[in-house]
Amino acid sequence: MALAITASLSATPLVLFAIGAVSMLLVLAFRDESAWSRSVSFYLKLAAAVVAIRVLFRIIFNLESSPANPLLVLPEINLTLAEGVSLKLFGSISALSFQSALTDGLRLAAIILAVGMANSLANPMKLLKSTPGALYEIATAISIAINLAPQLIASLNRVRRVRGLRGQSKGIRALPGLVIPVLEDTIDQSMSLAASMSARGFGRKGQRSKMALKITRFTGLAAITMIAVGVFLLLITPTTQVLDLSIAIAGLAFAVVYIKMSALGSLRTKYRKQAFQSGDYCLFALTAALLVSAFTGVLQF
């Protein structure tokens, strides 16, 4: 995440290249054999496509008017869209303009790679283990939703392959042949997962009064609202205001109380806690360092 933020703030191609490379190295170093790791190539292709498209757009929609030392000289096309509004296509492009387009493209690509890396490395199943008890239900729902996507793709591939075995009249009727088995698969799988979880005790409730449950829910709601409002204010106001900061901090405090309270009534135990290891602390330190340097860098310019 830090890599992505830094990328969005930095403007030198070299730094961006470094970020992309680090993302890829991390993926290659830590990936395992799960289906998630295979999405890496998809992100690489996407990143390359983004850079190419960005540069191409700069060439086509050229906003410069005849630069001093053109890198590329193309014939100009002037389109008059309406009275007084004209659009210049192609034309000469300076090295500087080309570079800025490339940097823009690379910045997006680096962000994509950084996010892609997080996606390829982080297994949604692990989310379940590291979430606090209070957020368990939400985390379960999210991880199931995330998990459905690859399953959907897998069954889509299977059914598409199998569909080749039976001919079919042309036209609109081709669609149900693909969609019905896939949807059926997905629904079956979700139902069987839900049944499995339920049969193994998911959803059992501890001994808690209704009042306690109500208070817990209220704290949770308050926490989310205050954090959202606080962060929003922090981001839109140019200078940091005491009020914004205090709202955000109060929100965080509510969140802590909420998590503690709901953990009280929960039955669940955790057999293998996803404890932070030295490596994770290193990562935290690195993240913080990166963010600080990126922000100070931004402030300087």
Partner: protein
Amino acid sequence: MITLRDLTFSYLKPDGTPVTETPQLNRVNLEVAEGEFVLVCGPTGSGKSTLLKTLNGLAPRFTGGLLSGEVILDGKDLTGKEPHDFAHLVGFVNQQPEGFFVTDTVIDEIVYGAEQLGMPVAEIDDRIKPIIEILNIGDLLYRPLATLSGGQQQRVAIAAALVAGQKILLLDEPTSALDFAGATEVLSSLKKLAHESGVTILLAEHRISRVIAEVDSVLVVHGDGSVTKGDPATQFNDARFAPPIIQLGAMLGWKPLSISTEDAAARWAKQSPDFQEKKLHEPGKKILEIDSLKVTFGNVAAVSATNLDLYANQVTAIMGENGSGKTSLCWAIQGLGERSAGTVLLDGQDTAELARDARLDLVAMIPQRAADLLFLHSLADELKESDTFAQVEPGTTANLFAQLAGRIDTSIHPRDLSAGQQLALVLAIQLAKQAKVLILDEPTRGLDYAAKRALAKQLQLLRSPERTIVLASHDVEFVAEVADRVIKLQAGQIVADQSPIEALGWKSQLPSQLAQISRADGLVSIEQVLA
């Protein structure tokens, strides 16, 4: 341990009326003692699965339907409770472990149930050890679930179902998706569990022959709503789901019926009944010529350099464990599948180079999940669509289907057909154009004995001097009955090309049950026995 009183269960239509006149389970009264190992049998669709699910709340909570009567487990009335209220007492394992896993590593999966029940970590530690030992999964604990074989996955699922000290274990056809080795692994683990742990086990299973000698009693769900339970030898009066060993006993008038191979072998030796030679069909003209065919995925050779000729009038069975390359070979022969080298010639033309429609006319393939090919809303629509696409006389597919499966109300939704009927429908659709090659990939998966016998008859009907039939299967008994030629694959290579008599005879490595019982040369399949 388990008491059912007047348990009645019916599935409901959307308007709230029952789907069938008689409920799926009708006033069932049943007692199962603590530590009893019960085999649950019955024809496909009779309600075995439903019965198991009523014992942990999944029915009606997840299946829909209406339940009345009482479910008393371990002295407590749990009628109408949610599945998670049964979780501390009842463990559940179903057909497809991979769809049932909640986490992604073995150890996390095993402890999931105990975590949900709030069991202290120290206690989980104590409970895990003996279970891991019985199921022999100690080496797998930190592996990702996706990398395990089917048999290993199923053993993990069993451990996960019992780790919180559950006293009852329900298994819904746990071996139906496994190959022979995987099924044997799971069933022998269950035997150990039954003997060593005192858990009450209810096992719904198609592969009856391997466990029948181990169980304490057999419970039969008849399909008309009634359920009976008793001694294994007395329960098999219904041939629809009787395994070969029971059929044999019935044919030869054994009383009581033998349920173990050893017992049957001793009786056979005393009686030495007559049997006829196996009728094998002579090869007709050469239909397919497979030349140095190779399929590789990444670095893995799924099929390596295969040469094979396939002849008309014959059923050729391709046998091998899961992952031996059967499916890859089927797809490569069909022409759509991946190939990295080699040719498959049909009348001098490579199947991979045929135009799509021409290939469909000549090569018919039934994939592992035949129902994937069905997508319309009624049987009539499916039959009509097939005629339209194949450009044949209207009614052609319907006639073929009627030959294979008998007359069936065509307004029915294809999903409501039984697994055997769906298979027959797909066969009829795929063969509307009289294809010269018919490929079936694991067709007997999930079929009961009656449906398998029906399929064997259908294959006899479809045998012709113009057609070769290829059958990928690890179902020894089925292959023994239908095949004229057996090809064994191991890690993508053909290791044997024999007649079924050699391949499945009593001296072979893969003997059919009848071969094991009779120890007679040339006898592999039950229809050879003269009663």
